[in-house]
Amino acid sequence: MGKTIAKSSIFLNFACVLISAFILIPVVIIFLTSLDPAKYIRFPPSGFSLLWYEYFFSNKVWQNGLLNSVYVAVLNTIISVPCGILAAYAYRKYTFKLKNIFNTIMIIPYVTPSLLVGIALLMAFGRTILRGTYFIVAIAHALWSTSFIYILMQAALSNYDFTYEEAAKDLGANLFQMFSEVTLPLLKSAFIAAILFAFISSFGEVTMAIFLVTSKTVTLPVLLWTSLKYELHPVATVASVICIIFAIVIFMLITKFFGTGMLSKIGM
């Protein structure tokens, strides 16, 4: 009996390692090839150099792409974080008749394919003044982020005791004092996590951005997309590594502030 348990958990552990490898290997490979000075991408790398990193950071086009990505991500954060947090707060605090309908409306953008959202936005605003602006790209991302933050904050707020706010009101705090003295400090880490989530999900978004950017507002992932369409240039590996590094840094910050318990709520 004991033996079968040991055997099956060995199998489980082994399978786990293989699946983790499957998830992580592409990232490792990209990182290794980005340090290869050769002009053609190949494995194993022929040497070690930061040649392509220098190339990346001295090239105006790539620099712009990186900056544009940051602009869009910041703008998206400014739009989606308040929208998502306020709605999730309302969901947890109040009971009302249309609650289920509101909840469904809030989740729809999360489950609608980005491809279709991108196309719909292109058709609706492609011939208006908003065409190709940072704003429209950020808005496209904000649709998804708002939904996502809404779901995440719902989970975070389920542990939040609204009596603290009532106590504050009872002791004479007005709405603003209540928020700054009680709500904000108690939910600080959840808010920070929401900001980080919004930033990184927008920073790496590509499907919608492909339809909405112009050469002026092109983001890093889209730049990567267009450059790879023509050739497998090694600088693409550097751009990829930059994207990965952003993801890792933000990911570590999120785990620090938010813990992985809440992270696993991302599933549906």
């Binding site: 008749k97 005791d161 009596t163 009532e166 106590a167 009872d170 002791l171 004479g172 003295e181």
Partner: protein, 359 residues
């Protein structure tokens, strides 16, 4: 008579009017009085408290504090403070900051805050030098209670509201804290409304109390009045261990009524106030007012058999059977002669202890 708080005809419905939480509730609380709202869970007692505090608005009716109508005044502008069920001490603030919170919100001068917070901590018997910098998670259950009380006291409100704050403590500490709480409230002559579902708590604390059930105030008065003269079977049942029977009035002479319970089992009762209107009545007899004996002690006695004898330490609970359908619960002190299952006994009581309840 100075009235601190009054509610007039408060009605509140939830879930689009389907559930009536409060139905035309009017109460008043005098200055310096501890008033208790006693009721089972879901009776609407906490809702009434929250309406007085301003956390909820009534559908109709008015709230008066110090004679002023405050029905539509938001919570943060009312001169009342609440001690919450789960205390709601701010976990990110230390004891000093928790107690100072209300004063800070009212933009009171820093030195004045410090003075008043320390003064209040002394009042609740917490030494500020030891406790001021501690955080709520570093306090014991009893200390947290005191901080919560201090946080309300420091604002010197017209009335302090308590929403079952002691319910999370274990029994021993709860017993100790309720006596202390009463001492503090009385020492500083404070007005308080206390909500609880615990009968003993209500009896220990109250000057006056009201019993509330299904959104309605059933009766109000001193604890003694309610216990000795319940006006409905709900109250008779709710307070203490009570035997309740249906009976029919057979005869009335002077102050005495003879009531037939069942096939010839008759009892005699006194009535002092208005005589019963109908012939059908409910008869209530508290379990501790019955004495078991082997020979008659009082005029009122019946024969019975002990069905069960349950030993609970300082007292013994007996279930005795008068006949197949009539059983009585009897509580006796664990003193003197005790009985065993199967013993034949006499059940004795005084006519004064039989209470007639209009059915």
């Amino acid at each position: 008579m100075d009235i601190a708080v009054e509610t007039r005809n408060i009605t509140k419905r939830f879930e689009k009017g389907r559930v009536v939480a409060l139905d035309n509730v009017s109460i008043y609380v005098k200055k310096g009085e501890i008033f208790t709202l006693l009721g089972p869970s879901g009776s609407g007692k906490s809702t009434l408290l929250r309406i007085i505090d301003g956390l909820e608005e009534p559908d109709s009716g008015d709230v008066f504090i110090d004679g002023k109508c405050v029905t539509h005044v938001p919570a943060h502008k009312r001169d009342v403070c609440m001690v919450f069920q789960r205390l709601a001490l701010f976990p990110h603030k230390n004891v000093f900051e928790n107690v100072a919170f209300g004063l800070k919100m009212h933009k009171i001068d820093k030195n004045e805050i410090k003075k008043r917070v320390e003064e209040t901590l002394w009042k609740v018997e917490l030494n500020p030098e030891i406790y001021a910098l501690r955080f709520p998670h570093q306090l014991s259950g009893g200390e947290m209670q005191r901080v919560a009380l201090a946080r309300a006291l420091v604002l010197r409100p017209a009335v302090i509201l308590f929403d079952e704050p002691l319910s999370s403590l274990d029994k021993r500490l709860r017993d100790k804290m309720r006596v202390e709480l009463k001492q503090i409230l009385k020492r500083f002559n404070l007005t308080a409304i206390y909500v609880t579902h615990d009968q003993e708590e209500a009896f220990v604390l109250s000057d006056r109390m009201a019993i509330i059930n299904k959104g309605k105030i059933l009766q109000e008065g001193t604890p003694r009045e309610l216990y000795e003269k319940p006006q409905s079977s709900f109250i008779a049942n709710f307070l203490g261990d009570t035997n309740i029977f249906k009976g029919v009035i057979k005869q009335m002479k002077g102050n005495l009524v003879i009531i037939e319970l069942q096939d010839g089992i008759c009892i005699t009762a006194n009535y002092t106030e208005t005589p019963p209107i109908s012939r059908d009545v409910l008869v209530s007899l508290k379990a501790e007012k019955i004495v078991l004996s082997d020979r008659p002690l009082f005029e009122n006695h019946l024969e019975a058999t002990v069905k069960e004898a349950i030993f609970v330490g300082e007292k013994i609970i007996y279930v005795v059977e008068l006949n197949k359908e009539l059983t009585l619960k009897v509580i006796e002190k664990n003193f003197g002669k005790t009985w065993r299952k199967g013993d034949r006994v006499l059940v004795n009581w005084l006519p004064d202890d039989i209470i007639l309840i209009p059915e």
